[in-house]
Amino acid sequence: MMARLSDSLTRAYHSDLAYNFRKSPVAVLAALVALSLVLAAVFAPLLAPSNPYDPASLNLMDGFTPPMTENAFTGNSYLLGTDNQGRDVLSTILYGARLSLFVGVMAVLFAMLLGIGAGLIAGWRGGWVDTVLMRVADVQLSFPSILIALLIFGVARGLIAPDQRDTMAIWVLIISIGLSDWVQYARVVRSATMVEKNKEYVQAARIIGVRPVVILTRHILPNVMGPVLVIATIGLALAIIAEATLSFLGVGVPPTEPSLGTLIRIGQQYLFSGEWWILLFPAIALLALALSVNLLGDWLRDALNPRLR
């Protein structure tokens, strides 16, 4: 068992992809930044000095404390200062990044699921099924995805009972962003499927009577996953930004449980009055997160593109 694991690790280390990765300082740096942010977010409850989602632990008099300065009323001091409610900005960023990442990852998974399903069916069946699915995709592509997310979010809020809205808000966000993003996966998977389905290994599988579902999932899917992973990585950065945008517009998560976008929205109100840290640090965190994931996606796209080798 151990031998097999180390064997595959060695193989992975010597693979083209890993070699390419080691030779790209941008990719290494981006991976390091992304990894540390993801780890910090995942382990936020252990790392954060306080829990910003517990309103009972907050002291309003701590509000607007500048970074590394003693508060005039309470004597408390915070590394990155506090926001308008006396929340520690560092803890809020850690918890906020956790929320942003969770929404981003779930939204991408949801979009992948939808897009791959639709793409496989459209590519495999062709005919009117293909036409209908792809025209729907065309219509959706003609709208900016943030508008679609806003539309879905608005409709969903109308459908959910008021007292359920807070608990459902995150899931509504995930579904809105996911639904606005599935088209790209569907298109890529469809075209790849159309190429693959005429190849000999698929023909052979059909002749020996393998069911279409099995062919699609076991034979074709693994061969179209390369480009899907590239889209998913870049899509993750976009989903994080979409979540931040929605929260910035005030339609995302409730204000008592801020994500990075909510924090930026709050901080933006205090820009003119000189409390820059409420805006700046969450904005840097969002920038670092989105940029590093995006750079990784770019690198992956180039690395997997045979024409660029």
């Binding site: 309103p55 907050l58 309003l60 509000g63």
Partner: protein, 526 residues
């Protein structure tokens, strides 16, 4: 002969030149504030920004000066009938026309009185003591009261007069029922007698008003108003700093200091006739959003605990940056009935408050949803967030739902919220207004904003009698008595009285209006 002619010509060309010069100089005022009017139907919504915009288009019989006194507007004189103390007599202004040219007569006042008393009107409670209006002649109106009502004229500062003929022609005889989501012609079209007429309106985006040339008063300095609601505080300030707007009505408290130091910008501040408070369902068997089977707010211990948990001084210092007057009663200091002891509040005591919650039967606390507007009052959402934290310290898990005010207010009017934030101004400058809308049992003409479901028949009778009392000393004593009961029952969890700040570019002068109802016809430009 020839001379006279050329003199006339000279005058005419001089006038034309003056007009040209006038048109060329900046007489447009670009005015921004946090929110748009909810509707232009003048009798539908009794709400600040709505009334402010309507005051430019429609006029009232009497207006409120910035010092709080009454000024003649469509009525030139008003008095109680010498022979009958239950009748108010109004002499109307001569030569007033509506924007479509039709003359203003007593019939329009009679019609508007009927309309404002309709059940779908938001102003009903102000006119509960008025039985009917009759036109004695074209310029005299008698309003028959149910009893002597010496203070009734104070209720008329937001009583907008509509053209009866226009209303009938356009099928808007009945006010829009806003809470039911209705629309009518008057929501987007107007025909008033005001100094400005509507040029164009895109709700929530931009409303353009132009001076009405046929107006009875002198032409105002400002001949065109471009009204833009800008919900984001920082964007509003940025618009003023960059010269995109000339006047910002709702200046965020955090930016007052910075704007005061900016060249070319003037800030005026003053206390507003408006209190910000929390209220809760005190009467239902069970709450909509709570995780317990009974109603915690019905228990006096819980209400006392909440009062002990509210740290008003912290809210004033941190959230409001000193720009508020913390108080225990929802009554601004210049309103009749205000007393020093109503204003007094005790320092927070979290231990005692937590003990009271346990004593009330909730040793593990309970959870409840708080509804809050996020675009109506100064830092409304931040106040709610702060209170969520304070109540969390005594075992109440409060889920905050903050949303735009057109979604928030119907929750109170339709009894769909357990616990909410509300701001209340007192346009008639008398406590009876607070009682009529917020304390009296909800029934026809009363209690439309009584979201606490508070009902005390004995108190209702006292409140109703206020409308007809002529002995003002006895009346003030009764007001004091009612306040004592309201405070003892803790009907309100009051936070503070709001302080207003207007910011404008140099050259624009507008004094702070205590009801936050500035009229741009009063702006002086230099």
């Amino acid at each position: 002969m020839k001379n006279t002619l050329s003199f006339k010509r000279l005058m005419a060309s001089a006038t034309a030149l003056a007009l040209l010069a006038g048109a060329a100089s900046a007489e447009t005022l670009r005015w921004a504030r946090v929110a748009d009017a909810l509707t232009l139907d003048p009798h539908s919504q009794n709400e600040g920004p709505t009334s402010t915009l309507l005051h430019h288009i429609y006029e009232t019989l009497v207006a409120r000066n910035t010092d709080g006194s009454l000024a003649p507007r469509l009525a030139t004189e008003w008095s109680i009938h010498p022979d009958d103390p239950t009748v108010w007599v109004f002499k109307l202004r001569e030569g007033v026309t509506f924007h479509d040219g039709s003359p203003f007569t007593a019939e329009d006042v009679v019609f508007s009185m009927e309309r404002v008393k309709h059940p779908s009107s938001g102003f009903q409670a102000l006119h509960s003591a008025a039985v009917s209006a009759t036109a004695v002649d074209d310029l005299t109106v008698h309003i028959q009261m149910s009893g002597p009502s010496p203070l009734y004229v104070q209720n008329l500062t937001n009583f907008f007069i509509m053209d009866s003929g226009w209303a009938e022609a356009n099928d808007v005889v009945v006010p829009q029922n806003f809470a039911a989501g209705e629309e009518n012609f008057a929501v987007r079209n107007t025909n008033g007698t005001g100094a400005y007429q509507l040029v164009s309106r895109e709700p929530e985006v931009r409303t353009v008003l132009a001076a009405y040339e046929g107006h009875w008063a002198e032409t105002p300095d400002v001949t065109e108003i471009i009204y833009t609601p800008i919900a984001e505080a920082a964007t509003r300030v940025a618009a003023l700093l960059s010269g995109e707007v000339d006047l910002v009505q709702d200046v965020p408290v955090q930016d007052i200091a910075r704007l005061e130091q900016t060249d070319g910008i003037t800030i005026t501040t003053g206390p507003e006739n408006r209190n910000i408070f929390f209220a809760y369902d005190m009467a239902s068997e069970k709450l909509i959003s709570a995780n317990v089977e009974d109603n915690p707010f019905a228990k006096p211990q819980v209400r006392e605990a909440m009062a002990l948990a509210l740290d008003r001084d912290a809210i004033q210092q941190v959230v409001m940056r000193g720009q508020s007057q913390p108080s225990a009663a929802p009554l601004p200091p210049f309103v009749n009935g205000w007393r020093e002891d109503l204003h007094a509040y005790s320092a927070p005591d979290y231990e005692r408050a937590a003990a009271l919650i346990a004593e009330a039967g909730y040793p593990d606390g309970f959870s409840v949803t708080l509804n809050c507007p996020n675009d109506r009052y100064l830092n409304d959402e931040a106040i709610c967030q702060a209170v969520v934290g304070m109540l969390g310290r005594i075992g109440m898990e409060v889920n905050l739902v903050s949303q735009t005010r057109s979604l928030h207010f119907p929750l109170i009017e339709n009894w769909e919220t357990d616990f909410y934030l509300l701001g209340w101004g007192v346009p008639p400058f008398d406590s009876a207004y607070v009682f009529n809308f917020l304390v009296h049992t909800r029934e026809e003409g009363f209690g439309s904003f009584n979201g606490s479901r508070y009902s005390n028949p004995e108190l209702d009778a006292k409140i109703e009698s206020l409308a007809t009392m002529t002995d003002l000393v006895a009346r003030d004593a009764l007001i004091a008595e009612i306040w004592d009961q309201v405070m003892a029952d803790r009907v309100f969890l009051n936070v503070h009285n709001q302080v207003l700040a207007y910011a404008m570019r140099d050259g624009v002068t507008l004094p702070v209006h205590p009801e936050n109802q500035p009229n741009m016809a009063n702006v002086t430009l230099n």
